[in-house]
């Protein structure tokens, strides 16, 4: 008991001397009010500490403090390293997923010469860390929305032979099938490429072109 009282008195004395010293170096601005609030809180904490100890709440106090500060600093929980590890793993999966999506996007860009509308890529990965196949790609779904909405017919093309390349820049030198977003061609091409690039079976890759 004597030891506890001694500690308590030392705590209060040192904190108050320290705060007194700090008072002199606090910048004299509107900040002072806010600093005083916190200093006041500190003194309350130091003074009520024995009551807290009697009720055996000291651990609770620290836990609550760490929990709140961890929450505020958005690190999840500073006291709980397990949760931080979990958070990091989640981040790693997210990065992995984004990289895969970017890779698929590049493949599609390389395979479709004409313009296309919105592209949506859905990936299903094994996200369970406990699982043996953690990180395995379960299935890939690619949906390409055709912007134009209609098939462009390229039949009669007038070429101004004598005008040179500048006048002919709008001329499309491709077959109709090749120029338009063709569902079946894209399906097979992109599917092939994706399965080759990711090293997965073609059966779990689905490619769809929506008009």
């Amino acid at each position: 008991m004597a030891e506890f009282l001694r500690n308590w008195i030392i705590n209060i004395t040192v904190i108050i001397i320290f705060i007194m010293l700090l008072e002199t170096i606090i910048p004299s601005s509107s900040m002072k009010r806010y600093i005083n609030v916190i200093v006041g809180l500190m003194i309350i904490v130091v003074v009520i500490k024995p009551f807290v100890l009697v009720k055996d709440y000291a651990e609770d106090f620290h836990l609550k403090f760490l929990e709140t500060s961890g929450y505020i600093e958005q690190s999840g929980a500073a006291a709980d390293s397990e949760r931080i590890v979990e958070f990091q793993q989640k981040m790693a999966v997210e990065v992995f997923e984004n990289n895969l999506k970017r890779l698929i996007e590049r493949i599609i860009d390389e395979n479709i010469d004409s313009e296309y509308g919105e592209l949506s890529i859905n990936l299903w990965l094994e996200k369970d860390f406990e699982s043996k196949d953690f990180g395995r790609i379960k299935s890939v779904e690619v949906i390409i929305n055709n912007n134009s909405g209609e098939v462009i017919e390229v039949d009669k093309i007038k070429i101004a032979v004598n005008e040179g390349a500048e006048a002919n820049k709008n001329v499309i030198n491709k077959d109709k099938v090749e120029y338009n977003l063709n569902n079946s061609r894209i399906r097979s091409d992109i599917r092939d490429e994706i399965s080759k690039a990711l090293g997965i079976s073609e059966s779990i890759v689905s490619v769809e072109v929506r008009q």
Binding site: P27, S29, K55
Partner: protein
Amino acid sequence: MDIMKIVMTGIIAALLAVVLREEKPETAFAVSLVTGLVIFVFVITKLNSVMTVFKHFAAKANIDILYFSTILKVIAIAYITEFGAQICRDAGEGAIAAKVEFAGKVLIMVIAIPILAALMDIMIKIIP
């Protein structure tokens, strides 16, 4: 003597700034900014050793380091905010200075929140 160095730096910079303000106000601002930074860094290194001694004493007196670090953080935020706000005010940007001060206040409050939360928790538990 350190204080002589700092005062001389301040006076020379002030003279320079006064002369330059007529010709090139933006350079005058740069001079005051750099001077402020130099003095700030110089003093911060001194303060660092003082803080080390304080921490040593805190450990010796068996005081919770939590209280110390919180108070020190608050003081540091107050000083840095004040420094930034004054530089902004020097440049004639009172509005930005006010925003900087506002940010400082919010950050100080954020530091206070864990203490407040813990205190509230204890209070609620103590009262049956």
